[in-house]
C-alpha cells in the first residue's frame, strides 16, 4: 500500500474530488433555490437562477479550498500538534 504522500495518489485523489465537489454544490444550490421558489415565495424561476449562481460559487469555493490545502506543505500541520 503506497504512502498517502505518494504524488500519484494525491494527484488522482484531487482530480476525482474536485469534479464531484463542483457538481454537488451546483445541485444543492439549484435545489435550494428551487425549493424556495416552489414552497416559500412562488417566484419561479428567480430562486432557481440565484440558487444556481450561489451553487456555482460554492463549488468553486470548495474546489479552490481543496487545491489550497493540497499546495500547503504538510509541515504546518505538524506545528499545531
Amino acid at each position: 500500500m503506497p504512502a498517502p504522500q505518494d504524488p500519484l495518489y494525491a494527484g488522482l485523489g484531487q482530480a476525482v474530488r474536485i469534479g464531484t465537489e463542483l457538481l454537488a454544490a451546483l445541485i444543492v444550490g439549484g435545489g435550494l433555490g428551487w425549493a424556495i421558489d416552489t414552497y416559500l415565495f412562488g417566484t419561479i424561476p428567480w430562486g432557481l437562477v440565484i440558487g444556481l449562481v450561489f451553487g456555482l460559487a460554492a463549488g468553486m469555493r470548495s474546489a479552490y479550498r481543496s487545491v489550497q490545502r493540497w499546495q500547503s506543505p504538510p509541515t504546518d500541520v505538524d506545528k499545531q500538534g
Partner: protein, 249 residues
C-alpha cells in the same frame, strides 16, 4: 437475450422481515455486508494475533494499513486527531474490503448502493457537526465565514458557505456510489459484448474487460482513500475551526 447491465444491482428480499411496517428484509447486500465484516475482522485479527518483531506477510500488510491511516489523520488533523482513529480506520477498512470483495465475480458490491454510502457520509458529517458544536459552541457557526473575508462580502459568503457545507456529505456519498456503480456497469456491458460478439470479434471487448478490471482495482483503493481522507478533512475542520488557514498563512 442479454440481461441488463444494471441487473447486478437489483436486490430481492431473501428472508422477508419487517418490524412495525419498516422493511428490514435480508437481501444480498445485507449478506455481503456481513461477509465484508467477517472477512475484514478475520484478516485483522489474524494479522494482529502473532505480533512478531519481524512481521509475516499478513502482519506487515496490516501494519502498513495502520501506518497509512495514521499518516492520513496526522496530515489532516494533527496529533489531536488520533482520537478519531477507530472511526476513520473502521470506515477505511470496511469500504476497502467491500470494494475489493465486490470485484470478485459473482459477489455484490455493498458500496454500489447509495443508501450505504449516504449512511456513512451523513454519519461522518453528523459527527463533525457534533464535534464542532461541542468543542466551540455557537462560535462553530463561524465556519460559515472564512477568515479574512471583508465585511461587505459576509452576506454573500454565508449562503455560499451554507451550500458548500450541505454539498459535503452529498458529494461524499455520490462519489463513492457513482464510481463503484459505473465501474461495474462498464464491466457488465463489456463482458456482455464479449459473450454476444462470439469468437471473431468478441476478443476485443474481452481485452477491454480485463483492462478495465485492472483499472477498477486502482479505483477501489482510491475511492476508499478519498472517502477516508475527506472524513479526516471534515472532522479536522470541525476540530480546529480555521486552525489550518491561520497556520498556513
Amino acid at each position: 437475450m442479454e440481461e441488463s447491465p444494471l441487473h447486478q444491482f437489483e436486490l430481492h428480499p431473501w428472508v422477508p422481515m419487517s418490524i412495525g411496517g419498516v422493511d428490514i428484509s435480508i437481501n444480498k447486500a445485507v449478506v455481503f455486508m456481513w461477509v465484508v465484516i467477517a472477512v475484514a475482522s478475520v484478516c485483522m485479527v489474524m494479522a494482529g494475533s502473532s505480533r512478531k518483531l519481524v512481521p509475516g506477510k499478513l502482519q506487515s500488510l496490516a501494519e502498513m494499513m495502520v501506518e497509512f491511516i495514521r499518516n492520513m489523520i496526522l496530515e489532516t488533523m494533527g496529533k489531536d486527531g488520533m482520537r478519531f482513529f477507530p472511526l476513520v480506520a473502521t470506515l477505511f477498512v470496511f469500504i476497502l474490503f467491500s470494494n475489493y470483495i465486490g470485484l470478485i465475480p459473482g459477489t455484490y458490491t455493498v458500496t454500489s448502493q447509495i443508501i450505504v454510502t449516504a449512511a456513512f457520509s451523513f454519519l461522518v458529517y453528523g459527527i463533525s457537526l457534533a464535534v464542532g458544536f461541542l468543542l466551540h459552541g455557537v462560535k462553530f457557526l463561524g465556519i460559515l465565514i472564512p477568515p479574512g473575508t471583508p465585511g461587505w462580502l459576509v452576506p454573500l459568503m454565508i449562503p455560499i458557505e451554507i451550500i458548500s457545507q450541505i454539498a459535503r456529505p452529498i458529494s461524499l456519498a455520490v462519489r463513492l456510489f457513482a464510481n463503484m456503480t459505473a465501474g461495474h456497469v462498464m464491466l457488465a456491458v463489456l463482458f456482455g459484448l464479449t459473450v454476444g460478439g462470439g469468437v471473431l470479434i468478441g476478443w476485443l471487448p474481452f481485452v477491454f474487460t480485463v483492462a478495465i478490471y485492472g483499472l477498477e482495482f486502482g479505483i477501489a483503493f482510491i475511492q476508499a482513500y478519498i472517502f477516508t481522507i475527506l472524513t479526516c478533512v471534515y472532522l479536522g475542520d470541525a476540530f480546529h475551526l480555521h486552525g489550518h488557514e491561520e497556520h498556513a498563512h
